[in-house]
Amino acid sequence: MTRFLSIDGVTKRFGRVTAVDRLSLEIRENEFFALLGASGSGKTTLLRMLAGFETPEEGAIRLDGADIAHVAPNRRPVNLMFQSYALFPHMTVEGNIAYGLEMERLPRAEIAARVGEIMETTELAPMARRKPDQLSGGQRQRVALARALVKRPRLLLLDEPLGALDKKLRAAMQLELKRLQHEVGITFIVVTHDQEEALVMADRIAILKDGRLLQVGTPHEVYETPANRYAADFIGLMNFVEEAGRTLAIRPERIRLFPEIADRTTEGRVTARAYHGLDLMLHVATPLAPRPLVVRLTAEDADRRLVAEGDTVTLGWNDADTRNFSD
């Protein structure tokens, strides 16, 4: 069986900077895949190589078995949703969406039908005749998505698709994108620097750093079993404690307050409390770590045991909940 998309030893340099360094990755058909990394990690360069706007110096990019690394962007069955959306300002919503189909020289009737259909799916039909500058941020984002989706590409690339939206809209759109991806059955590769977004949306996540792949896995895998200290720190909140020359990592929700039984316990002083509605974050200074440990309590736990800033508390955890990153 040929693999759907395989990135094989791809390297891209800009002058003396190596943006992507011998990176290999397999992406499955119909997968919602996230490339996650800080700025400068090479995730956008990798995405642009998949779209055809950059050419790798080494390595191959195989889509359905064929190397597309040197195929021009207008000749690949791949579409990109740009971070800035890059809508054509002189065309209507309808015109923007139809553009890609007109390039395929499809019959007018088919173009109209497909544009109409995608505008229904993305709830853009009422604004078909508007120009991009008459749309809200969320509407523009949907036009950019519809314009790429209507081409029915083998692979849809999304560069920080929700980056320009406000927080509430982002949360709604994360689920919306996931629903849409299921509905159209197209492989999505999304670039994001937002680990929470990657966890919520993706089937699998690749963590990139300095042009290299650190870890690939399901959200659960990368969250619960990070491959190294960087990945552990990058995804979610992580506490690092020094213990007998080892560095142990433990998630805030795995630390318990005044535990009845625990493998390890320590005393500490509460330096800050941050209330988030559903949960409460306590910052506790302990002798085990230079930085205060972050402890996450559910609202229920927090109500049961009221703690104030300056209080001395006992923290505890089980060895099974820690990960050892001594290196």
């Binding site: 021009a72 207008n74 054509f88 314009r147 790429a148 081409k151």
Partner: protein, 264 residues
């Protein structure tokens, strides 16, 4: 800033009025005299458009106006196409284009008289017979610089990701230019063309040097210069008023199409 006293404000307004009078009074006088029935600059004898009528029956002026239109139109068309492509080329390859940029803009800065002598020497060296065609070529030289400057000003704020989006959606480079880039920069292209046309219509020195001998290639500014040797006639006033009207309307349109166009 401190409140200005009413006296200061009156004073400033007076200075401003003086400056504007200095700039526009001569032009106003010229326009007024072109309608002066008697034709003498010393006395107003009544309103008349007869000097405009006299223009229309002056064969020399009409043929010069025809020549100016030919030179203006052809040099504008050529300079607009080349200048737009040049601007696109420079802006898409910015990093390598520093020296090229300076070369392209030299004709804007080099004094007209120097350019005129250079072109004259160039044409005679190559033994190119001179006439309207050499004026056209010479006007393309400086118009090219102006058109590309106007178009480049627009391209500075151009979001190139739309051209990438077009390629991504399956368009060829040419289709991308025709359907995305050109429509978006068209106001600047037209503004550049109007500016070029204006510059060409009232350009004298370069046309004078590169026209060659003979009356066949006399342009309007050259005709005015020839006529003025026998004194400023009311006909010249009328002609100048028309030329000014054409230039001002072209420039106004250009300004409207393109905010922040560089002035000639």
């Amino acid at each position: 800033m401190a409140e200005r006293s009413p006296a200061t404000r009156r004073g400033l307004r007076f200075v401003l009025g003086g400056v504007f009078a200095f700039l526009y009074l001569p032009i106003a006088v010229l326009v007024a005299l072109s309608f002066n029935e008697g034709g003498m600059p010393t006395a107003w004898t009544g309103f008349s458009a007869k000097w405009y009528g006299a223009l229309l029956s002056n064969g020399d002026i009409l043929s010069a106006a025809g020549n100016t239109l030919i030179v203006g139109t052809v040099s504008t068309l050529v300079a607009t196409v080349l200048g737009t492509l040049l601007a696109l080329g420079i802006e898409t390859r910015r990093r390598k284009g520093r020296a090229l940029e300076a070369l392209v803009f030299a004709p804007m800065i080099i004094p007209d008289i120097v350019l005129a002598i250079a072109l004259l020497s160039f044409f005679s060296l190559l033994k190119v017979p001179m006439g309207l065609h050499t004026i056209v070529v010479s006007h393309v030289v400086f118009n090219l610089a102006f058109v590309s400057a106007v178009v480049r000003a627009r391209l500075k704020t151009f979001d190139w990701s739309v051209t990438e989006a077009s390629l991504d959606l399956g368009a060829s480079a040419f289709t991308t230019f025709r359907r995305v880039t050109l429509p978006l920069i068209l106001p600047a292209v037209i503004a550049g063309a109007l500016l070029a046309f204006t510059l060409s219509v009232d350009e004298f020195i370069i046309a004078f040097f590169t026209a060659g001998a003979g009356r066949a290639s006399t342009t309007l500014p050259m005709q005015i210069f020839a006529m003025i040797r026998f004194g400023v006639t009311p006909e010249i006033n009328a002609l100048a008023t028309i030329v000014m009207l054409v230039s001002v309307s072209a420039l106004t349109l250009a300004q409207r199409l393109n905010k922040g166009v560089i002035a000639p």
